[in-house]
Amino acid sequence: MITRREFIRDGVAAFTVSFAAPAFLSDIARAQGARGRNLVVVYLSGGNDALNTVVPYQDAFYYSRRPAIAIPAGQVLQIGSDSTGKTLGLHPRLTGLHEIFNQGRLALVQRTGYLNSSRSHFQGTDIWGTADPSSPTGVGWLGRYLDTLPAPVDALAGWNSTRETPRALIARTVGVPAIPDARTYSLSSPNSGTEALNERVAATQIASHVPVDRPHLSLVNGSIRGALDTLDRVALVNTYTPTVTYPNNGYALALRTVAGAIVRGIGTKVFWVQTGGFDTHANEGAAGGGAYANLMGTFSDGLLAFYNDLRNQGLLNDTLILQFSEFGRRISENGSQGTDHGAAGAMMAIGGAVRGGIYGTAASLDPNPANPTLENGGADVRYETDFRAVYSKVLDSWLGADSVSLLGGNFRQAAPAII
């Protein structure tokens, strides 16, 4: 019988490569375009009720199908009408977005989605993450973009402000750090001074080992290296003092940290921020108040602070904010003053380079099963703009990438000219 000692000491073939850790990571960041353009993805987790975000307040069916939760016409924030002349208004708590819209820096893309929309949160999120409705596994659309950056890719090329790495940021070769709270993103030791330093050196060396027959260990080692390689620069971001007061919630805190990273010139290309609670099966709230109004307030107030902070720093033209959710919700409310899982939703783009306005056309909410703007027997909104067309615009026109190869198809024809 093999002993534990033999197994541990000799049982595993391996070789060790020494990572050529660059002496000055910031040089790489600079070479890859620090203070260059960045993308901030804002994900509304749970399936946002887009019809109460961008309200078709002159569609009588909107009110007849949502007797308890419709936003009264008198409360919406007017944004004009779409190309078919359908008048629209924003949820009354979207005052920040309304302000940005009026500055011409908010693009709304109505009825975004895809054919045979999944009503599952998890499949839906994977589809939006991979941009591949037929096979939503493996690497994400932004991960594929990060994989195209010239090596060595800086450890902070991507920045995820949530605990779990979203599908969209999963890459083949690039690890994206998860920094849910930059203030606690630091390394501790049972010892201090030189001993703590010795320990950090040892941890770095141990994690530099690549056991060829145990890729799962390499994966964890990659995460350890990713943490150790990014700690000091994240600490630098922490010293940022914003020019505005951000709301006190995790989402706004994440946006504040992202602003710090942009201002400090870390060189991050893609940031990920999200806010949850959008799975509003019940108690959305009546007449523009209640739980959904709070969600809208959180979403909009944090974004406005971020927008103003970047504007004050003169960096608004470097940043593009892209908002999405995994699906929209059913048109008719249920008996719990909520809405169940539906199909198409709305996307938004915000930034100094954005051509503001309303893109795409609103659905008619007439429940007639023959209504071509709806699906599922008139229950759900049918998509008009494939979400990958919006992605293609972002990849091609903002990140300077090749959307055809990254999305596995040409979606440029249908791409709205949001930037």
Binding site: H121, T184, N191, L219
Partner: protein, 487 residues
């Protein structure tokens, strides 16, 4: 106490929370089948772990005023961690964790609707401690290796679930689809087996499965409680037709029934889902990942065998789990250390291996959140992102930092335990790698890095001061290394 009983250690890492030094002494000479039966037939062991809370020789809990695990969620977390560290029925706690992930329900939504006291009671009330039905986690302990169909029925009537997936508001006129969809997508057979029409029909099945305040008291009163209530007046009595068979004769329609008999709709529907081969296979795949390996996709032969065990035994889980633990799939040495530990498993195993004298499980709560696993607060109804998904940089940093916290806390105990191994850095390292801790193998390069660390900063004397510093640093390095994250 050389640790040479590999297969037993493997069982204790997977089907328990890793061996303590006492376990190694107890099970060192035991046969694998003895250990498996000891774990699986856990009802033969005493269920007295809660009575040990506060006793010496056990990990501590931190009290703020009174320790209130039935009404304060942080104390409920402490109680569960204490159970995982000290229970004589570790597989029961492990399966409770499995079901908590499978039926992932988050306290914050419950507390948002019914305040902290009721939210904690719905998640964690221990039967008899206060009036009211058992908390959800007690359901998972009760049915840890019980009948899956019966567990599903209990879950459908569980107050926390009725709040979490909005069943409490499922009414006849406009049914509510949340629970109806997730019971198919996540709790049983998975996406791809049903249509939107099935979701509509299932929502109608559960109309009237609501919740009521049984005492009429205010939410902040610990004696107030909520319970399941079948509200016949809100049940849709018409027939419900599915795209798949509900009955063994192939009939796809649940017949129209009187409102008084309407609960039978749900029983019929749940029974059909629980007994469906696709549910059996999906459970088998989840159990493969939980017990056998996360590095290989489930072996189709395993899935079919486990699924048929499950169906043959009338959806009983105990024979299924015993079958898995006794199988070649499980015992194959290629699969040792082939599962990524969950943060809770990592923390509990570290405490059990390093020591707990003077340590409070409360000190693990915030680190667990940073590692990505707050008990009673899964991120969504799909549970945690398991496997490689645990290992984001921020989460790994939290694991390393917890190793540092625990090593610092246990510095003197750890150092003292190594007294007779201090002669050279090599003897000290071997003691920790091979006897004191149970990491997966360190290759020679990282092994030498650990030696380099021990030698750094001056010549080796083996003095108390040197040992106190270096053993703490060494334990932190081993427990914070990739090699320790696999079980």
């Amino acid at each position: 106490m050389a640790r040479e009983n590999w297969q037993v250690e493997h069982v204790l890492r997977r089907a328990a929370f890793g061996p303590t030094a006492t376990d190694l002494a107890t099970f060192g000479e035991a046969s694998v089948s003895t250990v498996i039966n000891y774990l699986v037939d856990y009802e033969k062991q005493p269920d007295d772990v809660d009575s040990k809370i506060g006793q010496s020789d056990h990990v501590s809990v931190t009290t703020r005023g009174q320790f209130s695990p039935n009404t304060n969620i942080d104390d409920a977390r402490q109680r569960w961690l204490f159970r995982m560290v000290h229970s004589q029925r570790p597989l029961q706690e492990k399966m409770a964790l499995f079901w908590h992930n499978h039926f992932a329900t988050a306290y914050s939504k419950i507390a948002g609707a019914f305040r902290a006291v009721q939210g904690t009671k719905m998640m964690a009330l221990k039967p008899g401690d206060l009036p009211g039905p058992p908390g959800q986690i007690e359901l998972f302990r009760k049915f840890a290796l019980g009948n899956f169909r019966n567990l599903l029925i209990e879950v459908a009537r569980d107050p926390a679930m009725l709040v979490w997936l909005d069943g409490r508001q499922n009414v006849r006129t406009r049914p509510q689809e949340n629970f109806a969809r997730e019971i198919m997508e996540l709790f049983t057979w998975g996406v791809g087996n049903y249509t939107e029409q099935d979701v509509y029909a299932a929502a109608r099945v559960f109309t009237g499965w609501n919740l009521r305040n049984a005492t009429g008291g205010v939410a902040t009163d610990p004696s107030t409680y909520y319970e399941f209530a079948y509200n016949a007046g809100q049940h849709d009595t018409t027939a419900k037709t599915f795209t798949f068979p509900i009955y063994s004769d192939g009939n796809r329609t649940i017949p129209a029934r009187s409102a008084a008999d309407g609960m039978q709709d749900g029983m019929d529907f749940i029974t059909a889902l629980a007994q469906h081969p696709q549910t059996a296979r999906r459970l088998a795949r989840k159990l493969w990942n939980f017990f056998v390996s996360e590095l290989e996709a489930p072996d189709p032969a395993f899935v079919e065998s486990v699924a048929s065990e499950y169906l043959r035994n009338g959806t009983e889980m105990k024979p299924v789990v015993r079958y898995i633990l006794q199988s070649e799939w499980f015992s194959n040495p290629d699969r040792w250390y082939s599962r990524y530990s969950w943060p809770t498993e990592f923390v509990v195993r570290a405490v059990r291996e390093i020591g707990w004298a003077g340590f409070s499980v409360d000190a693990a709560r915030t680190p667990l959140t940073n590692m990505g696993q707050t008990l009673f607060e899964p991120p969504d109804v799909n549970g945690w992102e398991l496997g490689a998904g645990w290992f984001s940089t921020g989460a790994m940093l939290a694991r390393m930092n917890f190793a540092a916290t625990l090593a610092a806390n246990q510095r003197f105990n750890v150092s003292r335990s190594a007294t007779s191994y201090r002669t050279t850095p090599e003897t000290l390292l071997d003691f920790f790698l091979f006897e004191r801790l149970s990491p997966s193998p360190f290759d020679s390069q990282p092994y030498n890095e650990l030696l380099t660390y021990l030698r750094a900063g001056g010549s080796w004397t083996g003095s108390d001061a040197q040992a106190n510093t270096k053993t703490a640093g060494l334990v932190r390095l081993i427990v914070g290394a990739a090699e320790y994250q696999l079980i």
